[in-house]
């Protein structure tokens, strides 16, 4: 048992614990906050996996941006901030059963999966490597992603914007 393993277990525990907390909390805001901890611990895991850049991105986008968006979403739509879970027992059982089955099957496959070798130099100049790859090998997907983001931006605005008539109606 070395330090790395201890760190991993702490992070994993936080991630899973916050996830389960998310499922069991009743207030929506609390749920989102709980998930922030998960995101953060995932960032920590990225660091352990020699992906420092990704860890920062994770913190920026997930723990920061997406969580904020979600909180905005909650605030803009709140009428009651509690999610009363009225899902029927049969369906919960169905979903739970499916998930357990899925988990078991997957678990038995990956339980002792190991490819033996591992990358050793990944943490060296991590950001630079990503940058080089992104602008050389993956330049087309990168550009496409930018288009996607643009479309998402426009789409989000159009969707969230009130209709003209509605606006006119409200203004009266």
């Amino acid at each position: 048992m070395n330090g790395e393993l201890i760190v991993f277990f702490i992070l994993a525990l936080v991630a899973i614990g916050s996830g389960i907390l998310m499922l069991n909390l009743t207030k929506v805001v609390h749920m989102v906050i709980a998930l922030v901890f998960t995101f953060l611990s995932i960032a920590g895991l990225y660091v352990m996996l020699s992906a420092e850049f990704l860890a920062f991105v994770q913190i920026l986008i997930y723990s920061g941006a997406i969580t904020i968006i979600m909180l905005f979403g909650i605030m803009l739509t709140r009428h009651s901030d509690r999610t009363e879970s009225k899902i029927g027992v049969p369906r919960t059982v169905l979903v739970l059963g499916g998930i357990v089955a899925f988990f078991l099957v997957m678990f038995f496959q990956i339980n002792d999966l190991s490819f033996g070798e591992q990358a050793t130099v990944l943490h060296v100049d991590n950001t630079e490597k990503i940058g080089v790859e992104l602008y050389s090998k993956f330049v087309i997907p990168f550009e496409l992603t930018s288009v996607l983001l643009l479309v998402a931006l426009v789409g989000a605005i159009v969707l969230a914007k009130r209709d003209d008539e509605e606006e006119a109606k409200d203004n009266e």
Partner: protein, 618 residues
Amino acid sequence: MNPLIWIIPVLPLLSFVLLLLFGRRLKEASAHVGALLTLGSLVLSIVVLLNQWGGEPVKETLSWLTFGETTLSAGYLVNPLNALMLVIVSLVSFLVQVYSGGYMHDDDRFPIFFAYLGLFTFAMLGLVLSPNLLQLYVFWELVGVGSFLLIGYYFYKREARSAAKKAFIMTRIGDVGLFIGMILLFWQVGSFEFDEIFAAVEAGEISEGWITLTAILIFVGAIGKSGQFPLHTWLPDAMEGPTPVSALIHAATMVAAGVYLVAAMFPLFQASEAALTTVAVVGGFTAIFAATIGLAQADIKRVLAYSTVSQLGYMMLALGSSGYVAGVFHLTTHAFFKALLFLAAGSVIHAVHTQNIHEMGGLWKKMKWTAPLFLIGAMAISGVPGLSGFFSKDEILAATYADGRFGLFWIAVIAAFLTAFYMFRLFFLVFTGESRGIQEKVKESPVSMTFPMIVLGILALIGGLINTPFATYLSDFLAQNEALEIHHHETRWWIPVVATGVSLLGILMAWLVYVKKKVTRFSESAPDLHYILLNKYFIDETYDYSFVKGTRALSYFWYYIDRFVVEGLVGLVTGIVGWFSKIGSRFQNGQVQLYSSVAFAGMAILLLVVAWIGGYLT
């Protein structure tokens, strides 16, 4: 010999077709058309009969139907028995058509009536001419249809409808016996032809058991047609038809077809003692059974109907006692005197418009022709010496005695006594004494009606002479048929004496009871017995409660099975499918979460299955 034999049945068929097509235009003339065409048949039949006298049997066939390797043929066969029957049938048919010209005069469906008579005569002649069992069966059924149509002639009467239906169904029950017997015999012999069947029987190709079985099944057909117990109930009901029809079909010809069938198949019956015994016992029982019912009936036609049943039983008894000649002889004489009796009864009904004998009486003086002719008929059937019935009945008694069935012999004697009694009861109640009913002027019937009666009266008087102990024309004639072994039994002197004695005793009794009123009527002395007899031993009721109601109950049972169980099962299947669809449609509630849950669960199951089958779960 005679290439025109097939014309004999075709003429009445022609009459049927013509009258059916043009009857409406012919109107009154249709009687002439029918009678003339039948007269043609009669003449030809007489020619055929005369040619048969000492001649050879004639048989011609052509192929009718082929299946597999077998060819069934149709054609005609003339032998002494057939020739005799041809004459009887066409004669009675002709006379009845003449008679009907007067009797049915006021009916507005006159042509149809004659068309039906033509159809019936055609079928009857065809039956008689059949060279094989199959063709016989075909005409056998057609005869039944003719009878059915004529019984139901007054279709608007409820009783006529049920009587017609009953006649058809009861005889069909018998027919099925014939049907089965015929088919079984076919698979034993490989042919329906009479001569081949007899040859096979003689050669011993068929086992004793099969012969008995098929003979009894064929006899079942005869039971149905000839109104023998237990299928006799339709015959009295058939009196709902017009009276000439009763004379033609239900006295002289069709009901005799059963006797004819047994006579025609006689070599088969002869080969099995058990079959002969069955025939004799059924015949003997029917003879006395129907005679007792006849004692109590009040309807003039019903008395005659039961008398017919009884006399047919006599004929069966004769055949069953190996008295082939006796049976055929009685068939002949019976055709004459019973047709005469019916026609006379029709004449009476025509005059007084009632059939209840208790409302008649005193008609002797008013009906100068009918009354004596009826008396002749009654004397003939009672077996008064010298008349036709005497000789034939005597022959039957002798045959029965010679066959050694003494029980049946005495039954026959008692039946003869009863016959004489109820016939003269009828005669005295109708013709003597004072008029009891409300009767307006009673007129004698027209010549068209009396003429046939006179012809039949003469035949009833002298018909017996064709086969007396001294001159056995008939038995010699019939003996020409080589397939038959005809027993000649020595005549015992005391049998005619006993027969005469009992019939005279019966007449005397009737006279004492109904004319002199010296003896109380047995409806008063034994009311319970009378009640049973009046209700015909409750056989109709028994059948109604057992078979008719039973069939109906069974039908309803199956109907409800069909309605509820079969359709219920179908409903169950559709219900299950529907239930599944309902469950399925519950999942289609528009919520993405549910859809994805189900999809995911399905995927998980697939995954499990694949992993399980692939062995990844170890």
